[in-house]
């Protein structure tokens, strides 16, 4: 017995982590998957009901709005974060004085919760006392800014706050990428007569392909999971105009007590994340094996 323990000690030590993750991650996902095929309402039922919940989900107006919003948000969130991130990274890479201070400022939103930043942005975007009043006081008398309470525009307020929170992080990823490239390459290109713009546009940015890939995965992942920011900024409103899948899932589960339907929406989110993550993990592992 003692001998066995001694020999298998590493595996014994590994057991808690493997056991917990098997149960709480894989077991729970399978449970959610199963429940999504049942007609569970307040309490889970275990008789299978086929794809009923999925048909119901994709026929629900609210879910379709949530998916639409997710697509709009993801597209804008990706574009703005990556563009701002690259610009800041390239500019900071020019031997800038006070680089450390600037970097700290660009990245600090990542240390705050979405509830904190959502609260701040909600106040800034306040339709009467916020930005609108600031601009009126500055002399733009007819300036109106009511996006937060405007059905058509409210989703863009979430983009504004989301980009503000995450762009600095993309900057950090790109800056690390730029710094890992040998100076020799840049020097050689300059000797060949390339100007700084060409060096970046033709040489360095194309070399950043893995960073683009990582940023894409990180940002899509954040946007699919977006929940806190919406709760803090709009709670899905006005009406249901800023609902997103994560909010739909929790509302359906815990306010409407439609457990089966919410499980189906959770599985859709899971599949969306898996579609992005599995290729990413695969390529990361391959890269690790090559090197």
């Amino acid at each position: 017995m003692f001998k066995w323990l001694e020999k298998n000690l590493p595996k014994v030590v590994l057991a808690p982590a493997v056991g917990l993750i098997s149960w709480f991650v894989y077991g729970f996902i399978l449970w959610t998957l199963y429940i999504s095929f049942t007609n569970s309402k307040i309490l889970p039922k275990y008789e299978l009901w086929g794809f009923g919940q999925y048909t119901k989900l994709w026929a629900s107006r609210k879910w379709l709005i949530a998916v639409d919003n997710l697509l709009i948000f993801t597209a804008l969130f990706l574009i703005f974060c990556i563009v701002i991130g690259i610009i800041l990274a390239i500019f900071l890479d020019q031997k800038i004085r006070a680089e450390g201070v600037l970097r700290t400022i660009y990245l600090y939103p990542m240390a705050l919760s979405f509830i904190v930043t959502g609260t701040a942005w909600k106040w800034i975007l306040n339709p009467t006392l916020g930005l609108q009043k600031l601009f009126i006081d500055m002399g733009f008398e007819n300036f109106t800014f009511d996006w937060l309470v405007n059905r058509e525009m409210a989703i863009y307020t979430i983009v504004i706050a989301g980009v503000w929170q995450s762009a600095g992080f993309i900057m950090a990823l790109f800056l690390a990428g730029l710094r890992s490239i040998e100076d020799e390459i840049v020097k050689a290109a300059k000797i060949d007569g390339a100007n700084l713009f060409t060096v970046y546009w033709k040489i360095l940015i194309p070399m950043m392909r893995p960073v683009f890939f990582t940023s894409f995965v990180v940002l899509v992942h954040i946007s699919i999971k977006s929940y806190d920011l919406i709760v803090a900024l709009t709670q899905g409103g006005p009406g249901i105009s800023t609902t997103m899948p994560a909010l739909y899932m929790t509302q359906t589960a815990f306010h409407k007590s439609q457990v089966g339907l919410s499980a189906a929406s959770a599985m859709m989110m899971f599949m969306a994340v898996a579609a992005v993550i599995i290729p990413y993990l695969y390529s990361e592992l391959r890269r690790e094996n090559v090197s």
């Binding site: 449970w31 660009y106 600090y108 919760s113 979405f114 609260t119 977006s226 899932m249 919410s262």
Partner: protein, 301 residues
């Protein structure tokens, strides 16, 4: 003669490019500072708003400096107005968060360190599959485990309790802490371990006497990462707790959304700063480690 001309034009050219360079640098700084003000703007607005009185907020605008510093909103946000029922303030929830964060960070870091140690220094067949198996846990959208987790906490009798949140955060922190320690230990030469084994050191002795003393940087990274994640969590907090057991982010959200009284934006802003303060301080003091965690544990919402 001709040589003379080209010399002057070369000089002119040089001057021109110097000027161009200077303009370019001005432009660089202009853009960088512009973005810096965009990033700093909400924090500035939060601070000045939290120090104004409500009449002053209505008269002025977002950026006007308070005519005199008014700390009452801070006192109200932290300790309430002192009229019993319906008076919500952050102090008890701040302590809830502390009671939740400390054990969850310690437990998940310890489990991650041991797991990372086994996966790199006591390798066996199929261990990289186990790593992948654990790593996948970093990426799942938590909505996919919310329903069974709620039931499990109920069955265990720890729903709506701080203990329940400690369990949840510990479990879902393990993939990240394992990732951090595994990637750190992989770069430590195996010869060190082999030599110790020849000297007769056992499994635990090697960990505590050899690896742990050189693990300080990765422990800092992991602790900061877990602290920030758990402190800032809202999804688990709002799903698995309510009322008195809620962590600070949930309490902040409830305070800001409560429609019972007249909106007091100064109190809202003071509350938001209080709820963000601990992670912000950690970021300012240990930014280097924070960023290291961020770039290696990147994929989490």
């Amino acid at each position: 003669m001709s040589a003379n001309i080209s010399a002057t034009s070369y000089k002119q050219l040089e001057q021109k490019s110097k000027l161009k360079n200077m303009l370019l640098r001005w432009f660089l700084y202009f853009v960088l500072i512009l973005f810096a003000s965009y990033f700093i703007f909400p924090l500035y607005v939060m601070i000045v708003t939290s120090l104004k009185t409500m009449p002053e907020i209505r008269q002025g605008n977002l950026i006007t400096w308070p005519s005199q510093l008014n700390f009452k909103p801070w006192a109200v946000a932290w300790g309430g107005r002192g009229y019993g029922a319906g008076d919500t303030f952050l102090r008890p929830y701040f302590w809830n968060s502390i009671k939740m964060v400390v054990p969850a960070v310690v437990a998940s870091t310890f489990i991650g360190a041991m797991t990372g140690y086994v996966l790199t220094k006591w390798r066996f067949k199929g261990d990289s599959w186990i790593f992948l198996f654990l790593l996948f846990g970093c990426f799942i959208p938590f909505q996919a485990i919310l329903l069974p987790m709620a039931r499990t906490l109920g069955v265990l009798g720890i729903s709506n309790s701080i203990l329940g949140l400690v369990v949840v955060h510990t479990v879902y922190g393990i993939p990240f802490t394992t990732l951090f320690f595994r990637n750190y230990y992989v770069s430590i030469p195996n010869e060190l371990i082999k030599a110790a084994r020849i000297d007769g050191a056992g499994f635990f002795k090697i960990f505590f006497k050899i690896l742990l003393p050189i693990s300080a940087p990765i422990i800092v990274v992991t602790v900061i990462w877990q602290f920030t994640q758990i402190w800032n969590d809202f999804l688990f907090g709002s799903t698995f707790s309510f009322g008195e057991a809620a962590p600070i982010q949930v309490a902040l959200n409830n305070m800001v959304l409560s429609s019972t009284s007249v909106k007091e934006y100064n109190v809202d802003m003071a509350s938001a700063i209080i709820a963000g303060f601990p992670t912000l301080i950690v970021y300012v003091l240990a930014g280097k480690y924070f960023i290291r965690g961020l770039t290696s544990g990147a994929v989490k919402g």
